[in-house]
Amino acid sequence: MSMEFLLASAIGALTAGGIYMTLRARTFPVIIGLALLSYAVNLFLFSMGRLTIDKPPIIDPSATDYTDPLPQALVLTAIVISFGMTALIVVLALRSFLETGSDGVAMDDVGEDGLEARDGKARQ
């Protein structure tokens, strides 16, 4: 089996799992789904400069070929952003669980007055 097949099916499996998980009704599976999606996208970005093995990532007169360094730089940026975002959404989910007592994603389980009650308190 070629490297391309392996990488492509890994990206496909991660994306499929990610989409399935983000469609769940509770926050924890949704977060796992987002993490899977971000792994899939990192692998995808990595492969977008084509798979070149054992080549330097810089243009060097003595080297015959090179690996495109830009996708690697992009993957680094994407990793940093998705890492930060995962941390944020975990805190957000936890806080909303603690304040509402449920980890559902839907708005139905928040009382209609959830916002108003608190705003009223803040104003007094």
Binding site: L37, V41, S96, D109, V110
Partner: protein, 511 residues
């Protein structure tokens, strides 16, 4: 090379950092710094607007890296207009926010400045991946701002908002990956050239990338079927934040115009106007859903949210024409709907505070002191939003209808625009009559508690409504200037020549 071009991104970044580092615990100092920085931004963007007004396209190479390798910012009439609009809106919103809203949670001002950094960067950049980065800056700040004030409802809505935008960012990266894999460039001008020369075997792949990217921008612009996040998010956000978010959806519309009018414009060979078949039909459904939502709303806040969806529909119909007349109408409507939408959100908050327990529900409640002032302001805001003469909403829709005259969709567009205006008129009239006339008939509360409230927030909302009046009075010069902006925004050849020309001179001086 004028260094002023980079200042709209540097100034909010430094201000935000100063706020976090030196004024963390001093709200008064935070307010002073934030207002001063925003005033400076208005002056600066006004200067940039005048600079761009000569019709020349200015390119700023960051660190003077030759452009296909480095990142560049491009100042043209369109980006200057968007910068000026953002700065003016931000000033009104910050004046509104410093009268109490910024006290409800920590770090309002730094987040606000980071939001401005993201917005300004997205309007200025000439590079795809840099656009992604500024989108992220903008979104991360907006997560914080949206949650400002806390409470279970905001947290739940915030989780949904963050999730949908993270999925949007994932799609953005996939699209950027595909486009880079096919063309080998992330520079917008370079891409415009390479898209027209793409090999036949790669056309399908590049089309996939371009349309995935379109989906991301459609998500930001709240275009059907990707609009459901907007009413929930805006209704849960605090009033000044919702008012600032009026410009956030416009970023999506701006990117659609940039990417599918300019980069994948009529000259892009096999990918010419790749998004065109999708924009107008989806925009018409967006407008219809917005109007029906306005009619179905039981709270004033929901009404304002669906009016925002409807205004995005109208704006995107005009952009979807991708010709000079259509884009002129779109830009006029963009300025109008940003100002009117923000005014409506501020007004809803002002009215809801004064109605006590009844808040913004569309039901009769005891009249509040000086309700005639808010009634009059709501009346003007409703006229502007619905699009009745004489205010700018009417002129914007008139320009749009005039621009569609010769297109094949004319009959459908006229039906949807006029029909939805009628539905919104009914919705707004009902809301206004229940809130002010039916409430006036209610018995006044026995002990009228006369709470002293500051006049400044009301003045801020009134300023925005005054701006729509001004936009209507100055319609002729404004639409003439926007016509020139539209001409430049669709001129792919001029854009490419300006950027590629700079690349050549820079690589001579740089190497």
């Amino acid at each position: 090379m004028s260094h002023w071009i980079v200042v709209p991104t540097v100034l909010p970044a430094l201000t935000a950092a100063c706020l976090v580092l030196f004024a963390r615990d001093n709200l008064f100092l935070q307010r002073v710094i934030s207002v001063v920085a925003t005033v400076a931004l208005v002056v600066l963007t006004l200067g940039l607007y005048r600079l761009a007004d000569d019709g020349e396209l200015r390119v700023y190479l960051l660190s003077n890296w030759p452009a296909p390798f480095g990142i560049l910012q491009v100042l043209d009439r369109l980006s200057a207009t968007m910068l000026l609009l953002t700065a003016c809106l931000a000033l009104v919103v910050i004046v509104y926010a410093i009268n109490g809203w910024d006290r409800r949670g920590r770090h309002f001002h730094p987040l606000f400045q980071f939001q401005l950094l993201g917005l300004n960067g997205a309007f200025l950049t000439g590079d795809f991946f840099n656009l992604f980065v500024f989108f992220e800056v903008m979104l991360i700040a907006s997560y914080g701002l949206m949650l400002h004030g806390g409470g279970p409802r905001r947290l739940k809505a915030g989780f949904q908002y963050v999730t949908i935008n993270l999925i949007g960012s994932t799609l953005f990266l996939i699209a950027v990956g595909i486009i880079y894999a096919v063309t080998g460039t992330l520079n917008m001008a370079d891409l415009a050239v390479k898209a027209s020369q793409v090999a036949t075997g790669d056309v399908a792949l590049l089309r996939t990338g371009a349309l995935l990217l379109f989906m991301v921008f459609a998500l930001k612009a709240a275009m059907v079927p990707l609009h459901w996040w907007l009413p929930t998010t805006y209704a849960a956000a605090s009033a000044p934040v919702a008012a600032l978010f009026a410009i956030m959806t416009k970023v999506g519309a701006y990117c659609i115009l940039r990417m599918y009018g300019l980069v994948f414009g009529p000259d892009a060979g096999p990918l010419a106007l790749v998004a065109e078949p999708w924009v107008i039909p989806a925009a018409m459904v967006t407008l219809a859903i917005g109007a029906i939502g306005v009619l179905a709303s039981r709270r004033l806040l929901d009404l304002a949210c669906f009016a925002a969806v409807a205004s995005m529909g109208t704006l995107l119909i005009a952009i979807g024409l991708f010709d000079e007349v259509g884009v002129t109408a779109a830009l006029y409507y963009l300025v109008h709907s940003t100002v009117a939408g923000a005014a409506l959100f501020l007004l809803v908050d002002l009215i809801a505070i004064r109605r006590g327990k009844a808040r913004d529900t569309l039901s009769a409640a005891a009249p509040f002191p000086r309700d005639y002032v808010y009634g009059a302001l709501f009346f003007l805001a409703a006229i502007a939003t619905v699009g009745l003469p004489p205010l700018s909403g009417f002129l914007g829709k008139l320009l749009l209808l005039d621009a569609t005259m010769t297109t094949p969709h004319a009959a459908a567009i006229w039906t949807v625009v006029l029909g939805s205006s009628f539905l919104m008129l009914v919705g707004f009239s009902r809301a206004g009559s229940v809130l002010f006339w039916k409430s006036a008939a209610q018995p006044a509360p026995a002990a009228q508690e006369d709470v002293r409230r500051r006049a400044v927030p009301t003045l801020a909302a009134a300023t925005l409504i005054g701006a729509t009046v001004l936009l209507s009075v100055l319609a002729a010069p404004v639409s003439r200037a926007l016509g020139e902006t539209a001409h430049q925004a669709l001129d792919t050849r001029g854009y490419v020549e300006a950027v590629i020309g700079t690349i050549k001179t820079a690589s001579v001086t740089g190497l």
